[in-house]
Symmetry: C2
Subunit: 518 residues, 2 copies
Amino acid sequence: MGTKKNVKTADHELLSLRRVAIDTYRENVAYLHRECELYRAEGFQALSKVLIESDSHRIHALLNVVDDTAIVAPGELGLAEQAFDQLGLGEGTAVRVDHAEPPASMDAVRRKIGGEPLRLEDYRAITRDIVANRYSKMEMAAFLVASGQSGLDREEILFLTRAMTESGERLHWHEPLVVDKHCIGGIPGNRTTMLVTPIVAAHGTLMPKTSSRAITSPAGTADTMEVLAEVELSPGTMHKVVRRERACLAWGGTAKLAPVDDILIAVERPLGIDSQGQMVASILSKKLAAGSTHLLLDIPVGPSAKVHHMREALHLRKLFEYVGDRLGLHIEVIITDGGQPIGRGIGPVLEARDVMAVLHNDPDAPQDLRQKALRLAGRILEFDPDVRGGSGYVMARDILDSGRALAKMQAIIEAQGKQTERFEPGHLTHEIKAPRNGVVSAIDNYQMSKIARLAGAPMDKGAGVDLLKKLGDPVKKGESLYRIHAEFPADFNFASTLANNNSGYRIGDEVAAEGPPP
Amino acid sequence: MGTKKNVKTADHELLSLRRVAIDTYRENVAYLHRECELYRAEGFQALSKVLIESDSHRIHALLNVVDDTAIVAPGELGLAEQAFDQLGLGEGTAVRVDHAEPPASMDAVRRKIGGEPLRLEDYRAITRDIVANRYSKMEMAAFLVASGQSGLDREEILFLTRAMTESGERLHWHEPLVVDKHCIGGIPGNRTTMLVTPIVAAHGTLMPKTSSRAITSPAGTADTMEVLAEVELSPGTMHKVVRRERACLAWGGTAKLAPVDDILIAVERPLGIDSQGQMVASILSKKLAAGSTHLLLDIPVGPSAKVHHMREALHLRKLFEYVGDRLGLHIEVIITDGGQPIGRGIGPVLEARDVMAVLHNDPDAPQDLRQKALRLAGRILEFDPDVRGGSGYVMARDILDSGRALAKMQAIIEAQGKQTERFEPGHLTHEIKAPRNGVVSAIDNYQMSKIARLAGAPMDKGAGVDLLKKLGDPVKKGESLYRIHAEFPADFNFASTLANNNSGYRIGDEVAAEGPPP
């Protein structure tokens, strides 16, 4: 009987590493042939986690059993693309496979399921295990539901934010004022960041903006900015751009800021569970890791926005303020109208078109997008101690009207690298018509997002929805309400079918706004 | 722009079905090539669920994206083994792929996460969607955690039990007294069912016993019975055996009783979450579906049993009684000593050996197994209105001592089909020795189970642990406490290493039982 050491290094228990060309998206999967002599796949439990290691590298993975030597042969250990990349070893490397212990921090998750509040050390252990890929999707779902259900108290949200901030890299700008803005989302077309950033930077305030790509929405700021410029900047390039232009509009993924957040979001979104505590920790950990000192937070309120009631928005504001104050991030919250999409375009190319129209002071540019961007930019300008309270809006308007914002945007685009590919709105189009005469009385944000996504946004840059009518506009029967753009027939059909079944628009009587007749 | 119907039947959107030889265990997985022209894998979201259908068949599956035409080519749709079998169509069949809506009943799960009690209709919708494989593992985890955390009230447990019972087939025996027994588990070697069933059937009481295979334990009754006889009986064979012998000892899987339970357990166990409500519903739905009228429930209590305290056992008893009374199942609960494994063997072959020794009235047979079986059988015999209260134990002992229980067991084995393969204890053995002189003062059920499992039980019938010393036995330093049996070197090393690191035994001073010296 050997000791642990001897067991592990026995030559006959090594398997040859093989890359299996399957994309399993954020879940490490290992493939073992059912007839694998040494480990005999049956000895490992179905759904069980295994530890795969060489002398220097190790990862955890979920086991799938294979009956086809074309995928993996008995003496081999297959790893799906993500797991293979994460392990970082070449094909043919000899690896060992062992039973993986469940992550130690699942004990804390089970305590949370039991209704116990957790401590900072618990949240640190959980985020460490998640970042190390020791959690399966099921285990992450358990953590998310447990912290969503009994809820996290304010202290716990603080602990979670701190632990998430510590889970990755941190940027340092060595300046006393580093501003950021964030919208809690749910409003399609709401691309104010691409206006606010050049306005603020033109004033001279530092705004090194990192944004996400869309996960469940038709476009994130990174997706839309990519229509104009490179957004996947190395940390070195990003610093250079920011030093030169006082701003950037980059994708946050390369910077590895609060990576645990990206992992959790990939589970949270498909489950459709929304926990306030998770949201606060998710947003603030990203901002803290990005080195921000001042944050303007936009909470849109509306019947099809993420937040439906003013009461809820106020509660959320208090939570953000509580955590921000304790972690050294100054937060101002602005509550905005989330009653309909902002601007006209939904989808990267169409949104970029709107943004550039506003920057060019085009008289046909969407006025709601312009006004909202000016309001937000004005508040951020007032973070500057030298700017007099109340004068931010006018300053922002002057910067925009004078063309200085456009010049700054062009400089940022040049610095990041102008997009070489030329994107156009998708050539497959379909217009949805008004079913009757009347006035647009409601536009469903969810439905418009869904149509734009099915049309191919954000993957197909030109796909999306172009709104031709907005709230309050009078319409005639048969007049077009909006136009779907797609690049591929299958997506075009999915989106058109959905829109034909439910347009997302409600057309009311012209008098309806004053209430039904008695 | 076509209607939904036209979109769906367009020939160019059909894919050719292909079986992918990967075992994904209770999660349907579909494989689409990244370059698939029509659907272009990127249009479907990562982790998204797709609906796969022909004109007559449909299933839901989780999407993996493939970059290797050897696994799946661009015009093909691959399905993992389970999904392929479930869809039930041949390779090359033309199928359509569509975006799958999340299961409608996830709304109820989200209400449960929000702390709301659910109604019978909600539980019915959830179990229907789970049985139809519309839930991903993440979604099931969300349901389990949500019902574990805020807890289910008594009414909800009743609703869930009812919904789970309705989720599959039901057996009907057309007799007023159909008995069953169940142990809530956690005690290795506790194979009383294989003694109780022949004793009770020898008396003439109907006991059509269906049992599970082990999921996280080293052996289920079905695994151990399989050492002696066929256990995978068709519903027809099972009825024939029961009509002839008044009993069977079959695996419950073929009967499709409360199938939602098997699906949930596959998620619950690896997560290590244990909800009383889920446990009650899981056990009682199986018994109700199996057509039982009277159930004896064994709740072992001990520091390393599932239930640690008498208080908890009593609370559980009330829950079982409440639900049983309302669903027409008479339940009696017996609380037993869960302080150590029962019998000597842990693992199918070793446990079958113990059972047969008791049936043969072998003087070396483990007395604790014999006594516990007699106690349980006695209580079940008293379910018979013709048996006088208090006389069951003596009747059971007479049936066992007279050889009638052995004869009945042999008849059941013959009727089910004698096992043709001959199983022996694993030939690789390793003995764990006492580290000092003293008395066995504790045996950890968890640890003994884990060692037996790593040794290969229940997959390798001969693998497991043979206990040579039990609680209270005096031992000398170097004397063997137990023997590990395994069939394969890798498993043998895993188990031996674990046992060498932590034997699961505590050896105390001979006086320790009377407390430490002052």
